[in-house]
Amino acid sequence: MKFSLRDLGTIRGRLWGGFGVLVLLLVIAGAVSRSSMVTLANTMSSTLTSVQDESRLASQLSGAVAQTIEAGAQYLEGRDTASERVFREQGWTAHSIQRQMNDRSGQTAEEIGVLAAIDTKLSDLEVKYALAHRLADLGRGADAHAQAAKARAVVDPLLSNINRLAQLKSQKVTAASAELASETKHRATLMLGLIGLALIIGVGVVVLTVGSVGRPLDALVTQAERLSRGDLTARTTAAMPGEFRILADAMNRTGDSLSRIVSAAARTAENVSSSAHQLSSVSEEIAVSASHMANAMSEVSHGAETQVLQIRNVDETLTRVRNTSSEVKARADEVQSLAAEIEHSASDKRIEIEHALGILADVKTSVEQAASEVAALTSAAADITRFVQAVSQIAEQTNLLALNAAIEAARAGDAGRGFAVVADEVRKLAEQSQKAAQDVVQMTGLVTMRVTTSARAMESGASRVVEIERLSRDIDEALRVITAAASRTKAAASGVSAAAETTVGAATSAAGSLDTISKTAENHAAAAQEVNASTQEQSAACEEMTSASNVLLNESNQLRELVGGLKT
């Protein structure tokens, strides 16, 4: 929480500031008192312990010394071993106590000095008494007594030293007590001062708070009373602390606001009055309209229900269409696959026919070549025939010549005989040549005849090949037509299938839409019924409004009268 000097202008600030200082002082006072308590307790505790220890040792020392002195004197009288033992033991005890005291911390120089003196004097006393004892043991009574007197002379200074030690210890206690008391007093004064300061600040805070609350409160009460009496012109302008200034400003603004509101209220009341009047009549009109509307909506509701029924009929029809279309699609798909098969096999056949046509063309060429070769053969046969006829004439001539030679040989008698044999042989050869020529002619005739027959057969074959080729081309053409037809069929079937599918989709979609329409129509019907009900309610509300506007009219009239009575 931030706190600045400016905050001291407010009561809250003054209270925070005042109580803050108050709490701080009380905390300090508490801390001081606690630390004082702790310090004092510790100091007291250690001081008391130390003092107790020292007192105990001092009293032990003085006791031991006293017993030593007593036993020392006693031995001289009784010479009993008990006194002797006590004398020695107590002396040793005193020395040991003296050493313990010497070893303690916090010894003053004087204390150490006194302790040293006690030790020295005690030693001296012991030595002197011991000597006196031995003199007494030796039966030298006078010497013993003289020596004892010397020992006794030490007793007083020794006791005075012991007293001095006790005194020093007591002074130490007193000093410690005084120091504790002074410390306590100092702390108490400090605490009282702090608490007193806190009290003064507390009273100051109370007085200031009461003063700064009372006066502004009176002014504000007066203003509030005036406002309550309807005097809206009441204002508070006097100076006052922060919170009251805020309150006064708020009340002043409230006065302003009330004045403005009252003026506005007066105007509004007038307006409200006339509006209420109008409202009343309008409400009645609305009530009538609402009644009409309710009837109309009732009809709408009925119509909507009828619509729903019709839509459901359409839906059934569509379902049937969809089923049929599905079947159509299935069939079309079958046709399509068949057409594809046909197209495929027709294409295959066409390829085979093309091949056959190629072979036919080869055959045709071969036939034509054979025909020309037959023709060549025929003419060759004719040449042969003519040549053979020439050979035959030659043989005939030869034969005649041979006959002539034979006749001539016969006339030449013997000289001619040999000749006659050659002439005969030539005639025989001529006859054989002529016969061979006749065979050749005969053979050539046969060959020519056969060649001619072959040529005719070939011509016939060539014409058949041409015919086969023509037929083949016709078949190819037919197959081409079939392929094209199959292709078209396939396309058509595909189209049918797609169309059927579209039809199914459309039918389904239409069914969905119809469903939606049907629901919408049902909703319409329901809505229409609701509207109908609402309209009826509205009609009732209008009637209520009419009566309310009548009440409003009355009230606004009263308000107008009331505002008229306020002072602005």
């Binding site: 050493r99 010497n102 911390s105 150490i112 001296d124 012991e126 030595v127 000597l131 031995r134 030796l138």
Partner: protein, 381 residues
């Protein structure tokens, strides 16, 4: 180590100054740090220089110091000695101890010499964290008094025990009379003897320090007829006693503690007296003989236990200084860290310390005075 401003105190302390210092004791503790670099390093030395045994202590220390200055490594570890006379007085000893503690150049203290002074000063050394090595202080009260206090002599409780055993077993004496100087030393040694003696203690009497009239006691002893008289005292009273003892012609054997080592100067009277000494110049050890010769060369005297222990304490501290440097804490830790294997060899034996600060394994040497010299008694232990 930082050098801090410190009050410079005079090295000579007058009795009036002592009293003033006592009253402002707290003030002189203020504003002092450790020894600064470059400043001179010193050992404090304290004892009753005016007493015979104190003077012998100092002679031993001075001989050691002379020899130290002659060593080649002295330049590396230069040292001075601040001599202070405590007059065997506890209060003076405590004042001197404060002086040493507050002087940053003092790194260790040789002494004190007496049990009483060492007991009084021990508290100051304990609080001021300064090592003190007592020479001939034998009181059992010193055992474990402070981690900063050591001594090179064995405790009276040890010495008294040893002498009681010697009297019983070696000398075969069983009827003893005891005289003791009525101070810390006398009471401690006599008590140790009494508690360990195997026989009858016929009498147990205190005498004054430096007492001179022993006629009544000797007469008494003559009547009692002990076979042994044990005296726990110094030669200051011892010579007078022995003279009276001889005069009355007593036959009892005389046995004295280390305080009686100076008795040998009275050659005739002291003949045959047994002394439990911390040192014997007759010991055959070459180290001892070298020391004895050097001591005789310097002073024309035969060194006794006082001289030997002063000599050993000085050399031991210088040995520590050369090992760890001029640092109070390191010197203390070094001394405390010595053990049987690392023990320092002195003329009074090998020295290392127990946790109580007493030397371990050291004891008195049983001697008998013969023709003015302490002869070691063979077979005595």
């Amino acid at each position: 180590m930082a050098t801090t401003p410190c009050r410079i105190l005079p090295s000579v302390v007058s009795p009036s100054l002592v009293r003033k210092l006592l009253s402002v004791g707290a003030l002189i503790l203020i504003g002092c740090g450790g020894p600064g670099s470059g400043t001179v390093v010193r050992f404090g030395a304290a004892g009753p220089w005016n007493e015979a045994y104190g003077a012998m202590n100092r002679r031993g220390m001075e001989l050691a110091f002379d020899q130290i200055k002659g060593r080649p490594d002295y330049a590396n570890h230069p040292i001075e000695i601040d001599w202070q006379n405590d007059e065997a007085d506890g209060q003076k000893a405590a004042t001197i101890a404060r002086l040493f503690v507050t002087d940053p150049t003092v790194v260790a203290v040789i002494g004190h010499v007496n049990s009483g002074t060492e007991v009084a000063a021990a508290k100051v050394y304990d609080a001021g964290h300064l090592v003190s090595v007592a020479t001939t202080a034998t009181s059992p009260a010193l055992t474990g008094i402070s981690p900063w206090v050591f001594r090179v002599i064995s405790s009276d409780s040890m010495n008294g025990l040893q002498m009681a055993h010697f009297a019983g077993t070696q000398l075969g004496k069983h009827r003893a009379a005891v005289l003791y100087e009525n101070n810390a030393y006398g009471r401690g040694l006599a008590d140790a003897f009494r508690r360990n003696f195997n026989g009858t203690i016929l009498s147990f009497d205190p005498i004054a320090e430096g007492a001179q009239n022993f006629e009544p006691y000797v007469s008494y002893l003559k009547a009692e007829n002990p076979d042994l008289v044990f005296v726990a005292g110094t030669d200051a009273s011892g010579i007078a006693f022995v003279k009276e003892f001889r005069r009355q012609q007593l036959t009892a054997t005389l046995l004295g503690g280390d305080g009686w080592t100076g008795l040998s100067v009275d050659t005739a009277a002291a003949e045959g007296i047994y002394v439990g000494a911390p040192f014997s110049a007759e010991a055959p050890d070459p180290g001892v003989q070298k020391f004895v010769q050097e001591f005789r060369a310097k002073y024309g005297l035969t060194p006794d236990g006082n001289a030997a222990l002063g000599y050993d304490a000085t050399n031991l501290l210088y040995y520590a200084l050369t090992k760890v440097g001029p640092d109070r804490t390191k010197i203390r830790d070094f001394l405390a860290g010595l053990d049987e294997s690392s023990a320092w060899k002195g003329v009074t034996g090998n020295i290392h310390f127990g946790a109580s600060g007493d030397p371990i394994g050291k004891s008195v040497v049983m001697t008998v005075i013969h023709k003015g010299a302490l002869k070691v008694v063979e077979g005595a232990q």
